[in-house]
C-alpha cells in the first residue's frame, strides 16, 4: 500500500517536472531561434541548438529595427493603460460589489459584455471613432481602447475579491467614523492587493502583446508599438526570422521580469492575507 503510494508520488513528481520542462522549453526555443537563420529555423535544425551562433541577429534587430522606439512606445502605452485600468476597474468593482444603487446588476452585466466582444468585431467603427474624436495616431488612440477593453476582465476579478471581504470590516470602520472614500482607499484597497498584482500581470500581458487594434489604429511610425513593429521584419515574400526572434527575445524580457516580480508579490500577499484571516 505504502509502496504503491510512493511509486504513485514518484510518477506524479516526474509528471510535474516534465511539465516544467515543457513550460520552459519555448523560452529556450526562442533563444535558439534568435541565433539561427531561416534555413535552420525552418528546415535543417528547427528544434535544436544553433549550428552557428548568429549574434549578428541581435545587432540587426537593434540597428535596423527601431527597437528602442517601439520599446518606448510600448512602455508608455502599457504603463498608462495599466494605471487607468486599475483605477477605473477598482472603483467600479467596489461600487458594484459593496455599494447599494439602482441598476447595479444591470450596469455590472453591461460592463461584462466586454468579455465577449472580440476586438475584430468593432475594428472599423472604432477606427472611424478615433479619427472623429481626433486622437488617431497618438498614444491615446491605443491607451483609451486598451483601458476600455480591459475593464470588463479586471472588474470581474476585483468584484470577486471585494465580495469575499467580510462586511463587518467595513461596518466597523464606518462606526469609527470613516467615510466611504476612506473605507475604499485605506481599508478595502490594501485587502485586494494580491488581486491588484494579478490584474496588473494579466492586463499588462494583454496590452503588451496586443496586435489587431495596434495594427489598425496606429499608422505612423512614431507611435508604433512592439507587436506591429515586429511585423516590419516580414517582407512581401520572405521574413527575416532570426533578427525577428532576437527582437522577440528583447521584447519578452519586460514581461518576464514583471511576472517574476509581481508573481512573487502576489505569492507573499496571499500568504500574509490567509495567515491573518486564519
Amino acid at each position: 500500500m505504502k509502496i504503491l503510494g510512493k511509486s504513485r508520488s514518484v510518477l506524479f513528481q516526474s509528471f510535474l517536472w516534465i511539465y516544467f520542462l515543457i513550460s520552459l522549453y519555448p523560452l529556450v526555443y526562442l533563444l535558439f531561434f534568435s541565433l539561427k537563420n531561416n534555413d535552420e529555423i525552418f528546415y535543417t535544425n528547427p528544434l535544436g541548438f544553433p549550428m552557428h551562433l548568429r549574434f549578428h541577429n541581435y545587432v540587426q534587430a537593434i540597428t535596423q529595427f527601431d527597437i528602442a522606439r517601439y520599446f518606448k512606445n510600448s512602455l508608455i502605452v502599457s504603463v498608462a493603460s495599466i494605471v487607468f485600468i486599475l483605477a477605473f476597474s477598482l472603483m467600479f468593482a467596489y461600487a458594484a460589489a459593496r455599494l447599494e444603487w439602482r441598476l447595479k446588476g444591470a450596469t455590472y452585466s453591461y460592463l461584462l459584455l466586454g468579455l465577449f466582444i472580440p476586438t475584430q468585431v468593432i475594428l472599423i467603427p472604432l477606427a472611424v471613432l478615433m479619427r472623429d474624436i481626433g486622437i488617431a495616431n497618438s498614444y491615446s488612440a491605443l491607451i483609451v481602447p486598451y483601458v476600455a477593453f480591459n475593464l470588463s476582465f479586471s472588474s470581474l476579478i476585483f468584484y470577486g475579491f471585494f465580495r469575499t471581504i467580510p462586511v463587518e470590516i467595513e461596518e466597523s470602520a464606518y462606526m469609527d467614523g470613516a467615510n466611504i472614500y476612506r473605507i475604499f482607499m485605506q481599508i478595502m484597497l490594501p485587502l485586494v492587493k494580491p488581486a491588484v498584482a494579478t490584474v496588473t500581470i494579466f492586463a499588462f500581458l494583454s496590452v503588451w502583446n496586443e496586435f489587431p487594434l495596434a495594427l489598425i489604429l496606429i499608422t505612423d511610425q512614431a507611435h508604433k508599438t512592439l507587436p506591429t513593429g515586429l511585423l516590419s521584419f516580414s517582407g512581401q515574400f520572405s521574413t527575416e526570422w532570426g533578427p525577428m526572434g532576437a527582437a522577440m527575445v528583447l521584447s519578452s524580457i519586460p514581461m518576464i521580469v514583471l511576472y517574476l516580480v509581481l508573481g512573487d508579490q502576489v505569492e507573499k500577499a496571499l500568504t500574509v492575507g490567509s495567515a491573518v484571516k486564519g
Binding site: Y19, F20, A87, P118, L126, T198, L205, S274, K277
Partner: protein, 294 residues
C-alpha cells in the same frame, strides 16, 4: 447604519469613469456593428437595408456551422485541459510539501507571457510531419502512428490548434485558481485535519466547492476564449486546410476584409456576441451565486 452604502455621489464617482469609457469605446462601435448587420454593406460606401437578410443567409451558410462546431470544440478542449490541469497544478503548488513549488509555480506561467507568434512557430515545428517532435517521438517508440497534424481535414487540425492555445494559457487559469485557493482561510481545513482526511479528499470536499466563484470566472474565460479563437489559427493554418480550422471570428474577418461583405461580417459578429452571452448566462444560472463570506 448601512446608509453609508447608499451614497449616490460616491457611486457616480466610482462608476462613471469605467462606464463612460466602456460605453464610448466598446458599446458605441458595437451598436454601430449591430445596426450594420441589417445592411448589405462593403464597409466603405453607403449600404442597403436588407432586414434580417444577412442572418437568414448566415443560417444557411455551411461555413457558419463549421465555424460554430470548431468554436465549441475549442471551448470544450480549453475548458477540460485548462481547468483540469490548472486545478491539479494549482493545488500541487499550494501544498507546502511539494518539492520546488515556487520554481514550478513560476515556470508553469512562462508560456502565457510569450507572444503568440513565438509559441505558434514552435508548435509548427513540433507538429511538422517530416521532422516534427511528435512524429519523431512515435517513431522512437516504434509506433507507426504518424499524423499530418495541421493539414488534416478531419477534426485533427482544429484539435491540434486548440492544444497549442490550451497549453499556452493553462498558467492563466492555474494562477486564478491558485490565488483563489490560497485565499481560503485555514480554519476551513481544521475539521478535515481532525477527521484525518487525505489531501485529495480535503480538496474535493473543501477547496473545490469553495472555489465556485473562481471556477465560474475561469469557465467564462475558457468558453469565450474558445468561441472567439482567432490568433492561433491565423498564424498556424490561416483557417486551413480549406476551412477546417475556421471559427466565427475568423469567418467574420474573412467576410469583412477579404470579401468586402462588411454587413455580413457584422451579422456574424452579432451572432458571436449573442452566443457568448447566452453561454455565460447559462453558466451564471448553473453555478451557484451565493455570497461567499469567510
Amino acid at each position: 447604519m448601512r446608509n453609508f452604502k447608499n451614497n449616490p455621489v460616491a457611486t457616480s464617482i466610482f462608476v462613471l469613469p469605467a462606464v463612460l469609457t466602456f460605453s464610448m469605446i466598446v458599446a458605441y462601435p458595437l451598436i454601430s456593428t449591430l445596426l450594420k448587420s441589417f445592411y448589405e454593406w462593403d464597409g466603405i460606401t453607403a449600404g442597403t437595408f436588407i432586414g434580417f437578410g444577412n442572418f437568414s443567409r448566415l443560417f444557411k451558410d455551411d461555413l457558419f456551422y463549421t465555424s460554430l462546431r470548431n468554436g465549441f470544440i475549442f471551448a470544450l478542449i480549453l475548458t477540460v485541459f485548462q481547468l483540469g490541469l490548472g486545478t491539479v497544478m494549482a493545488l500541487t503548488i499550494l501544498n507546502g510539501k511539494t518539492f520546488g513549488r515556487n520554481t514550478l509555480r513560476r515556470a508553469y506561467f512562462i508560456p502565457v507571457v510569450l507572444s503568440v507568434t513565438v509559441v505558434c512557430q514552435l508548435w509548427l515545428s513540433m507538429y511538422n510531419p517530416e521532422y516534427g517532435l511528435f512524429n519523431k517521438l512515435f517513431e522512437l517508440l516504434g509506433i507507426s502512428y504518424r499524423q499530418d497534424w495541421l493539414s488534416s481535414m478531419s477534426v485533427t487540425s482544429i484539435i491540434a490548434v486548440t492544444m497549442v492555445s490550451s497549453w499556452q494559457s493553462m498558467g492563466y487559469q492555474m494562477a486564478l485558481i491558485y490565488a483563489g485557493a490560497k485565499s481560503i482561510p485555514e480554519h476551513f481545513y481544521e475539521a478535515a485535519k481532525i477527521d484525518g482526511a487525505t489531501t485529495f479528499q480535503t480538496h474535493m470536499k473543501i477547496t473545490i466547492p469553495l472555489l465556485a466563484e473562481t471556477y465560474k470566472i475561469c469557465l467564462i474565460f475558457c468558453i469565450n476564449a474558445g468561441l472567439n479563437a482567432f490568433a492561433h489559427m491565423q498564424i498556424m493554418t490561416k483557417g486551413g486546410p480549406g476551412t477546417s480550422t475556421y471559427t466565427l471570428t475568423y469567418m467574420m474577418t474573412r467576410s469583412a476584409f477579404r470579401l468586402d461583405e462588411y454587413g455580413y461580417g457584422c451579422a456574424i459578429a452579432v451572432t458571436l456576441v449573442l452566443q457568448c452571452l447566452l453561454v455565460t448566462l447559462i453558466i451564471n444560472k448553473f453555478i451557484a451565486r451565493e455570497r461567499l463570506t469567510y
